[in-house]
């Protein structure tokens, strides 16, 4: 694909405290594509996303969004950039003291000079898009899990961003809603030309929406490529992932016993 990269991650190394989480990750997301980040739980998917959003401080490496290096960007540049980004967090992160409608209007209220009427109409339009029309006066606590995620998506796209980031948008939802969210993501790509990064561990959903897939494995990049390339890969760990097998290699009973009794760690510590 010859299209321009809107997100470029170079040699990203990150720590939480002493623990290294991402061990030199490089990837890019092209304009107008859906990039799915996959990997087992705890492999660093959310961490990578949080770094793309400049919510964490990297140990080394660089991240460029629309050509701007977010590690060295000025407040002004960062502000301009954030207007072009929409984020739907894993847990929704709706503001619990505001109604759904107010949640969705907040970016408009903070960043535009539109009058209140117009903002309300725009918020309702976005709620319509995520199939939540008529729910604008409810509080987030009155919504079900799936509705929270859809409302979060509505808030993420209310400014018509160029880049959209979704962390597990369909995890824990029933198949119908999950499918609807996948369709919505594709629609946003096709009609608005958004570049979209989706973190997920649901294979079906990933295969359906992904233009390309990045597979993370314990902080390392295991694979970057299209869905077909992924399916045809002969890497054992990738095949395990695709066949929904746990990543554990065969263990001999003795080693297993040693691990259970904690002897392993003692031996390592010695």
């Amino acid at each position: 694909m010859a299209s321009r990269a809107v997100i470029e991650v170079r040699d990203l190394v990150t720590h939480y405290g002493e623990r290294m989480i991402l061990k030199g990750v490089s990837m890019e997301v092209h304009e107008g594509e859906v990039m799915v980040i996959m990997g087992g739980s705890g492999s660093g998917k959310s961490t990578l996303l949080r770094h793309m959003l400049s919510l964490e401080q990297a140990t080394s490496g660089s991240i460029r969004l629309s050509g701007v290096d977010i590690c060295t960007a000025s407040t002004e540049e960062m502000y301009e950039l954030r207007l072009k980004m929409g984020v739907a967090f894993q847990g929704g992160a709706l503001f619990s003291s505001m109604t759904v409608g107010e949640n969705i209007m907040l970016p408009l209220y903070e960043h535009t000079k539109l009058d209140h009427m117009t903002m309300e109409i725009m918020a309702r339009l976005k709620l319509e898009v995520v199939d939540l029309a008529g729910f604008e006066n409810l509080m987030p606590s009155e919504l079900s899990g799936g509705m929270v995620k859809r409302a979060a998506l509505a808030r993420a796209i209310v400014m018509d961003p160029k880049m959209l980031f979704c962390d597990e948008p369909s995890a824990g939802l029933d198949p119908v809603v999950s499918n609807a969210i996948d369709d919505l993501i594709l629609k946003l790509r096709d009609t608005m030309g958004m570049s979209i990064v989706v973190v997920t561990h649901e294979l079906d959903s990933a295969f359906k929406i992904a233009d390309r897939i990045t597979v993370l494995d314990q902080g390392d990049i295991l694979f970057i490529g299209t869905v077909d390339e992924l399916k045809n890969s002969d890497n054992q760990r990738i095949q395990n992932l695709l066949n929904r097998q746990s990543g554990e290699e065969e263990l001999d009973p003795e080693a297993y016993l040693r691990r259970l009794t904690g002897e392993d760690t003692l031996v390592k510590a010695a």
Partner: protein, 271 residues
Amino acid sequence: MSEAGPFSPVVRLAERVGRSTVGGIEGIGHGASLLAESIYWTCLGWRKHQPVRLPAVFSEMMEVGIRAIPIVMVLSAAIGIMLAIQGIYTLKMFGAESRVVIGIAFSVVREFAPLITGILVAGRSGSALAARLSTMKINEEIDALTSMGVNPVRFLVVPALLAMLVMLPALTFFSDFISLFAAGIYVNLDLGLSLAAYADQTLDILSVDDLMHGLGKSVLFAFLITLVAVVNGAAVTGGAEGVGRVTTRSVVHAITAIVITDMLFAFLVTH
């Protein structure tokens, strides 16, 4: 293994003391930078797409100030009457109970009103602020704000700080009035001093300086309560029980800070 090995109780204790000292200094550092940032956004926010919203400040003022009026009234009246009872009882030993008005006036305006109001607001609004911020942090709401280009300090902290800076002195002034009034009624009933005479004497005794002493302290307390709440709230880890922990800690820290500041203030002003 020798006594001073890495696991001996002494070393562990020393380590814990060391860590909490470092933690405390770190907290003060965070508080200072938070204060600087709050002042920055208050003054320059409107030029950097981060205007401080007046409606947000007003709704905080409503919560911090207006809703606290009933309980401030009750506590202040109780304190005023307590001071009158104690003052008359003590002065009776010298047969000087008619001088009780001096004691009441100074104690209320310079010490008790600011202190009791500060402690009350720390327990009521400081804890609420710490709970709200820590919950928001755990639910990634703070990250959501940041990622939509809204500075969380400007959006959440500055309105609370400004509201506190206006309402705590206002409540303290109100508390002055209620305490003195309640004490006056008791003195009237016990010593037969008319309320008009009591008011005359009180106004005679009190100078603007005394009033300013009390109100000045309450401004200081307003800073302390807000910054302690925000620093603790932002330091939350874990889930719901983390919220409970930082909320409690923020109240304890705030009240400690208030009482110690009060002591230092009294010392500095009288020396």
